[in-house]
Symmetry: C2
Subunit: 185 residues, 2 copies
């Protein structure tokens, strides 16, 4: 299954979800179109399976580890840096998957959005804890959390995937801008 | 022409560029499909005209004004706040237009990207000036500029357009997080 998901994702990154018909996916995998339907019943279902595969491979491990970090400041730093290094700078998949999420049926969308919400909650909770301990200014937690997610999620729109080594500097720059942006003078 | 662009944009926001055929656009405008072709020759050209209309209405005035602000710190604050208030929290058009830019032909894409680049340049230049005057830490200017653009551009993915009044607080929160994130302790 991993091969199906990853080869199909590579086609979607290169050409776009909608531009790639199932016949092309079958050809890339060296199976018949009928053979493809053995694994899923619609292109929508394939997209959902690919999205979940991607989240399990790249994003959920980041969430699991971040939730275990005790110190809220370290938790924010870890989350932003790991999200950038393990997920967003690996390949351009996030850009495709986020845009195409609206094509999924409502139940599938809910399952994806529940996983995304864990990321927002990690940030919101850490910001609450930092505020409670007097370390940061009063700030709208939801707006601030989406600021961090936004600066990260935008990366696949401009990042040069031929220069992946710059991901380390990028991750440090973004975690520092966000945390310093919150901290009291 | 404004009516054509804005009614079509509203359909694209509600249902997606690709899901709206020219016949539906003609119907919404109360003209024939042949009548539509009086104004543009392909759906791609219509998308380009709409994108340019949108940039001229919302984004280019922000660029023009920001470029005139002398103080680099005020320039960053102005740019982020005006971008959020005049462009991103007006409607969800930016989300659609950014995603669909890949459908435009190369010459049209170049024209759009030249306008986007003005925004990045405003930020890069202001960051250079702040660094030269010793006010901020050394930072990768390109990465930092995209951080600001990313937190802003992500807004249409989560903002509640039924509560537009929160745009003021949002604009203040984001300009502060970004500027404080850059400034020296």
């Amino acid at each position: 299954m991993t091969e199906i998901y990853e080869k199909t994702m590579a086609l979607f990154i290169a050409e776009g979800y909608e531009q790639v018909p199932l016949s092309r996916i079958a050809k890339a995998l060296n199976i018949t179109k009928a053979g493809l339907y053995h694994y899923f019943s619609t292109k929508e279902e394939l997209l959902y399976f690919i999205h979940m595969h991607n989240l399990k491979k790249y994003f959920i491990p980041v969430l699991d580890m971040a939730e275990k970090v005790t110190d809220p400041q370290e938790r924010i730093t870890f989350f932003i840096q790991a999200f950038i290094r393990k997920s967003l700078t690996e390949d351009g998949s996030t850009r495709v998957l986020i845009h195409e999420v609206n094509r999924l049926n409502p139940e599938h969308q809910i399952k994806i959005r529940e996983i995304w919400a864990r990321g927002i909650n990690i940030l919101k909770n850490a910001i609450s804890e930092l505020h409670a301990s007097g370390k940061i200014k009063n700030v709208n937690k939801v707006f601030a959390s989406f600021a961090a997610v936004g600066m990260c999620t935008w990366i696949p729109y401009w990042f040069d995937y031929d220069r992946k080594e710059s991901a380390v500097e990028l991750a440090e720059t973004y975690s520092k801008i966000f945390l310093h942006g919150l901290l009291k003078d």
